[in-house]
């Protein structure tokens, strides 16, 4: 990955900080994040709960909920559009026409008293992209693409669909306006493994058919292997490592990534050989001085307790934020 400006970047995030303001304290959910996402790639963001993945994803749509605020940085979309400077109307068009998002808990993303078909039509109407007939046809095509029975699904109320079906409907809905970027936040959470596999297959197919940029967020490393090419690891609101899928899995350079690998069970592996990461996720109200991972890190030296390492480029076209990346193997 080159660090130069290039027209192929769909997203160029610079120095993005998002803070949630509580009564007296504030939390930095996203802390000076720099990230470039290439056009057409499948990009993954992994991190445990509370690491700031969702907040980062919501900022990509300028949709950070109150009391959150984007306090600094810029998000340039497609080389020329600053997402954070769009006005109300531009923003409405930008959302879903350029970038669509499948939310965490898509299961709750449907209005319980409106039939699925009507909910999908509402989105089409709002953006005036298609007339009603074309709209219905498009909805049918998309529902078929995610392997649902269009007739039945459109007539259903959300409670009549299973979790997996809702998730697939949500994916279909996200594609209604042919977005260039599709953000999926934990698309397989709360689903059984069969449905998970199903969703991942659909995602892989979709990439081939549509060629959109896909940004996949999860805490589950396993699901990335199916779809993702490049991956960023997030910890306490910071990106700690960005690398290609293979590099990250085979040669992690950040102790946290290494810990994740050692803590991920495989189907055939011996569960007793798993090594959990010691300690618990950081208290976002009082992050440790220096590197936020230092209290849990087996490689900690004095510098780690004093200086927060910046995300730097290292050989092999990858980025890591660790003083001791050379020693991590």
């Amino acid at each position: 990955m080159s660090q130069q400006e290039s027209p192929t970047k769909i997203y160029h995030i610079a120095d993005l900080t998002v803070e949630y303001y509580m009564r007296r304290l504030s939390i930095r959910a996203v802390n000076s994040v720099n990230l470039r996402i290439e056009k057409g790639e499948a990009f993954g963001i992994v991190g445990e709960s509370g690491s700031g993945k969702t907040t980062l994803a919501l900022s990509l749509l300028n949709l950070v909920p109150k009391p959150g605020r984007i306090t600094s940085g810029s998000i340039i979309y497609d080389g020329n559009k600053d997402v954070l400077k769009l006005n109300g109307n531009e923003l409405r068009r930008f959302r879903w026409e350029e970038v669509a998002m499948v939310f965490q808990g898509a299961l709750n993303s449907f209005n319980p008293v409106v039939r699925i078909g009507d909910q999908m039509l509402e989105t089409i109407d709002e953006h005036k992209s298609l007339d009603r007939q074309e709209g219905l046809k498009k909805i049918s095509t998309l529902l078929e693409m995610v392997r649902l029975d269009p007739e039945r699904t459109m007539r259903s109320f959300p409670h009549e669909l299973s979790g997996g079906m809702k998730q697939r409907t949500m994916i279909a809905m996200s594609l209604l306006l042919d977005p260039k970027v599709l953000i999926l936040d934990e698309p397989t959470t709360a689903l059984d493994v069969i449905s998970q596999k199903h969703i991942l297959n659909i995602l892989a197919d979709l990439r081939k058919q549509i060629g959109a940029t896909i940004i996949l967020l999860s805490h589950d490393l396993a699901i990335f292997t199916e779809v993702v090419e490049r991956i960023a690891v997030m910890y306490a609101g910071k990106l700690v490592e960005v690398a290609s899928m293979d590099d990250l899995f085979l040669r992690p350079k950040h102790p946290y990534t290494l810990g994740l690998m050692q803590a991920t069970p495989s189907v055939l592996g011996d569960v007793s050989k798993l090594k959990p990461i010691p300690g618990s996720p950081p208290d976002m109200f009082s992050l440790p001085k220096g590197c936020p991972f230092n209290p849990r890190c087996p490689f900690t030296i004095d510098t780690c307790r004093k200086v927060n390492p910046p995300l730097e480029e290292i050989p092999g076209n990858r980025l890591v934020a660790c003083h001791r990346w050379r020693d991590v193997t």
Binding site: L61, L63, P65, L91, R92, R93, F94, R95, W96, E97, A100, M101, F103, G105, N108, S109, F110, N111, P112, V113, V114, E122, T123, E126, H127, F157, H159, M173
Partner: protein, 285 residues
Amino acid sequence: MGYREAKETLSILVENKRALLGSLILLAIVLMALIGPLAIPLNLDPRFDRVYAPPSWEHPLGCDYIGLDILTEIIWGARDVLTIVVLAGTITVVIGAIVGLVAGYFGGITDLLLSSLIDIVLTIPGLPLVIVLAGLTQTRDPLSIGLILSANSWAYMGRSIRSQVLSMKERDFIEASRAMGISKLNIVFRDILPILMPYVGINFLFAIVQALYASVALFFIGVLPFSTVHWGTMLNIAMQVSGAIFVPYARHYVIAPIIFIVLLQVGLILFSYGIEDIFNPRLKT
């Protein structure tokens, strides 16, 4: 879709016995108001030979102080009564819902202004306000009476809808709608309103009940110009003009309008038990 939905609604009503009874009562009163005046002419010529005649086959509810058939008066009165209360209920609910939805969803300065307006209106006692307005305007027009009757009640509606919207707008699917670039107005009226429909429906019925009380009261105390056949007018005449209340053999003249007023109330309240079911998508297929 329309036919299907109607059939579904009907079958839901049949399931709920209370609501079924209520809707039958309402249906009977509405039919009476619509068809009755066409079938039975209203003759206002006094017939002193049958003043306070007791109920009989010819006059099922007896006759009044100038010998007119009471049932005929009730039937002709129903039209006026229903027009006024339905108008009042509709105005209350429409204004209340719009104000509540907009204040709740838009928030900020809009909310501040609308909430303050609601608070101010709510400090004015309801019935006295209505009496003063009615006395000042001396209107006969049902729409104006409807407006007077909702002068204060929309504010209750607006306040409670607002609080419902406040809790609704943080829900995941509303967040999702925002992400889809749905405009605020469409979120309010196409996403939030459908969820609040059972609430709005029940409030509509209760607004009608309130308007019925109030309109009868206005005619009863005589602040509105007489419309000869309104049930409230009948009560007013029975109590204050003819003195029927003091005459033992004229009791039926007092009781008849009261029974119909109570019947209409009971019908409305029983029907309100079915509203929740009608709007519940889980009972639909």
